[in-house]
Point group: C2
Amino acid sequence: MASVLHLLLLSVCSLYCISSGHRHPLDPLSPSEISTIRSIIKSSSLLSPAPLGFHYVGLDEPDKHAVLSWKSDPASHPLPPRRAFVILRADGQTYELHIDLDNNSIASHRRRSGGSGHPMLNMDEQNAVLALPFKYAPFVDSVKKRGVELRDVVCSTLTMGWFGEEQDQRLVKMQCFVTGETVNLYMRPIEGITMVVDMETVEIVEYEDRVVIAMPTAAGTEYRASRQLPPYGPRGKPVVVTQPVGKGFTFEGNVVRWANWNFHVGFDSRVGLVITVAGVGNGKDDIHRSVLYRGYLSEVYVPYMDPSEEWYFKTYFDIGEYGFASTSFSLKAGIDCPHNAEYMDGYYANGDGSPVLLRNAICIFERYAGDVSWRHTETLIPGRIITESREEVSLVVRTVYTAGNYDYVLDWELKTSGSIKLSAGFTGVLEVRATDYNHVEEMIGEQHGTLLAPNTIGVFHDHFLTYHLDLDVDGPENSFVKANLRTVRAEGGTTPRKSYWTVVSETARTEADARIAHNEAPPGELLFVNPGVKTRLGNTVGYRLIRSGAAATALMSEEDYPQRRAEYTKKSLWVTPYRKSEKWPSGLYADMGHGEDNLAVWSMRNRSIENTDIVLWYTIGVHHVPSQEDFPLMPTLNMGFELRPYNFFEHNPVIGTQPFIKNTGLTR
Amino acid sequence: MASVLHLLLLSVCSLYCISSGHRHPLDPLSPSEISTIRSIIKSSSLLSPAPLGFHYVGLDEPDKHAVLSWKSDPASHPLPPRRAFVILRADGQTYELHIDLDNNSIASHRRRSGGSGHPMLNMDEQNAVLALPFKYAPFVDSVKKRGVELRDVVCSTLTMGWFGEEQDQRLVKMQCFVTGETVNLYMRPIEGITMVVDMETVEIVEYEDRVVIAMPTAAGTEYRASRQLPPYGPRGKPVVVTQPVGKGFTFEGNVVRWANWNFHVGFDSRVGLVITVAGVGNGKDDIHRSVLYRGYLSEVYVPYMDPSEEWYFKTYFDIGEYGFASTSFSLKAGIDCPHNAEYMDGYYANGDGSPVLLRNAICIFERYAGDVSWRHTETLIPGRIITESREEVSLVVRTVYTAGNYDYVLDWELKTSGSIKLSAGFTGVLEVRATDYNHVEEMIGEQHGTLLAPNTIGVFHDHFLTYHLDLDVDGPENSFVKANLRTVRAEGGTTPRKSYWTVVSETARTEADARIAHNEAPPGELLFVNPGVKTRLGNTVGYRLIRSGAAATALMSEEDYPQRRAEYTKKSLWVTPYRKSEKWPSGLYADMGHGEDNLAVWSMRNRSIENTDIVLWYTIGVHHVPSQEDFPLMPTLNMGFELRPYNFFEHNPVIGTQPFIKNTGLTR
């Protein structure tokens, strides 16, 4: 065992030996720290001697104040205390531990009592139950009854939500699929069965084979290139990107520097990529003014709209119930990210607490999509035509989150202009329902989806991707300002105009002022400003939020159980005061939770959000009515939003940028 | 003169000799056709012997039916009659002519009588008036009074809108600026002067120097690279795109073929790029099913929100008043478009009717921005991790429209998945007002803009970019369907759920059903379907509109004069039945027009739009509240929307597409 551990440490030395000289208080837990945490816990007498299951092991972030002090002057401030937060299950109980990594000890330890919900499932326990159906006679009979070979069947664990039950068991449902002739097993669900598994006792505790429904065939479901037959599908010709003078970004440990940006990249087992202490400058000096203290995709809520027995519970909180790390996989160079990308690894703890390497968890690359950062042609000066333009090269930090059937390509794009664009590419495979229908004309009565292929219904559902954005616009004390546009009636004959609009700004005083659903927002700008900092001209520095077209909000009724858990999806936008504990909008214990610890509940205290440290929660919302094009795998649908400087700079920060032409020898 | 003409014909032979074998009924007028039109008109006795001014010379598009018949079988259908439409001014009158290019004759000819407004200004007459102020003593005095050197002054013509005046003179206002130390003259307006010019008599007919306002200095206004001093602005490292196996698109005359797309590219002096007869297939055969009969950016309306004497009238219809061709310039290879772009030229008639070459008016390139067309990772099959993905290479057709100070980068992006993405990049220079203010604290009372620099206010304004999209989804007969999502209360205890949503579709019967402002749209899909065509499964084939986040609608009061002219900007979306004459949403005679011939007026007839040939008019709307980053030139702001197949294909058309890796020898 010692030699295995030794090898593991060697294999990660490439990353962590480089970074050892650049310890940062927000660095994610290293594999050796994860191993240390495991050892500390396993050797402690504080915990039950029963087998321990690790459900979350992550950095317990230092106090923001301590991080900012350290960052402002690392030489005269010590690194803040290094601690980890751990959630364990033992003996049917949940434990929360804080581990002191400076002293290799357990700093605090409590058994959770009261409160609904359970920690994220870990992969090991999910794997442990996957074999159960194959030894369960009623299921074997069900498979036989459907004329399917048992060896072609695979199963998955589905979180079962909460529908008013008062019991406290940690349960999942299982759904099984038929592979064999296709790897696209999601297109071949074994329908009509309900199967409930107790995660603690590892046994099937409920089983019902309610109805046999036709099994969709494998025809047309394969997506692997090797299984396609000519004539192949359409494509353009390859476009290859190269960087003749190298890449523009550097790493110091987990800190990335690029152009006028500077930020730290972290990785967390629950949410994946975490961008912290992002600052931007004017490119003329090494001063970076803060924009974002911490940002990550905090939850992905996907409720389905089929109330039937085998479907009603499908109301997934993908991040809170499964977590990013255990369902995501290495990015593939040249296909998930272009050839000029660099990769960063991630580490997380498995169910036993041991470190697992997620190689190439994150990629970083410079993007040039043929666009201009700015341009103008001027012709008013007699005899001259002046055209001036700059190429738009931006920096993309990407992860791909595979939430079972769906895949989300999650990009943070930073621009030299100071903009941050967040986008999500929706792709992957739909969750479909088997049906006896083969043609739309057979379908009578209310439908819950679109007929995508024979015997295959793409069920209606939503995607709500909620971003946590702890904006620190030129410092932590910020306000949220609605710069509303108001029509003014011109009166008194002073102008031939009868009307125009002007700006009437309103600073949100409390959380209630900042809850906005898409259709409720008056025309205008949504600004995050630092009321204590002005430009030389006297404008208040800020950033503006440019909202997405994909701003769907929840349509389910407010008293419905899933909606109580995801109450925050009633609005696209929330602003809360910064609280260290308010990280997960669906609550720390989202699995089977009752919704008493979610963003909307925190916000109902209606705290002050004026001139204080505030957090923006912004949701990209999509109502997905599938179409046949989504079968057997959907083309990427891109949705996003932008944070753009607004009187943050004294002027356009890229006006003085030199064109590439000068240095690359490229001809125009 | 003959030899000059000969040279001109030689110089365009590269394009037109290639295309001569590929005549298409929608080809734009060739330079020789423009010359022929001029000769026919000049030698005709029908027109006044007074000097003729050419204000529009364009293809008189053949009847749609004739084009479609020809296209379906060119061998057995003759090319439709080739005709041009011409608008002339002579002797203070407007003439409309149809020219028969098959017989080189004037097919019809009428003097316009009644109706408000005037044709587009032409460049020659604008140039002719630019010198007037310099010979006008009161203006020379005004310049002197401001301490400016006359030789540093340049002037421009500003359309003056309509504010209830009953006169019929063709007038413009002029505004002058100070260049000299800077080429960014728009940042140095000579404020406080009203100067009105009669375009017919070519004289200043009204002049007032109302107030002297401080002149902004040239400091910080230069954008040319050669004038920047170190330290320069921020940038990444160059990213160079190459295509190792060549480009994926071909031309046959003006018809472009790329992957599974096929479309015709035209050029019109009023609107620039016109995409017609665009069809898409599944890439497996040469069948292209129609999607779009004709699409173009039909108007750009930019009203400013300052009611003062020198600003109230700034309510530009950039396309209808000035036209695309006369204010736009050649695209610069490697900066406006990437190095792998191909270019197409455009031709238009000058004020004298002679052909003018706009070289590199349009560029076409394949784009790879590092994104995936689709992907999935599958891990449920024991012992296997399958990751499959395809690179997203799309085709971009681009023009850049320079409307005086502003520049718009206008992209049509076609995807192999069948999607069409339309986007507009807003950049260029703001129209600013000079002011005595140097600091925000000095500014008292209501403001009409943001202080961007000392003595410089960026005035509030809107941008409304209205696209004409004559969709022919799998044929001309289409319907517009609102697939509304409706919450259903689950009752009777059949499910633990209390609610879900379902789709309740509503076909728009008349135009009134299809007028939608952003905040009015219920959740759901907006579909353009062909009710007569079903997929094999029985779904109605269609395309869906994915709206933009930039969906601002007009805030001015309905009875205000500019708003009457731009009444259509009260909604983001209109659907009209196809009428050949309904091409310009601001009316054929937009300049100084009263709004009696605009999209909203046509639509008020409330015609049937069900199962007939329909046109979508979609407006990208932005309320622009400037910020200091917009000074002295704004970073590009990208806004767009998407038309995406919706049960148009039997399945994802790119599922069978082979990855590039196989053919390029690139390693993953």
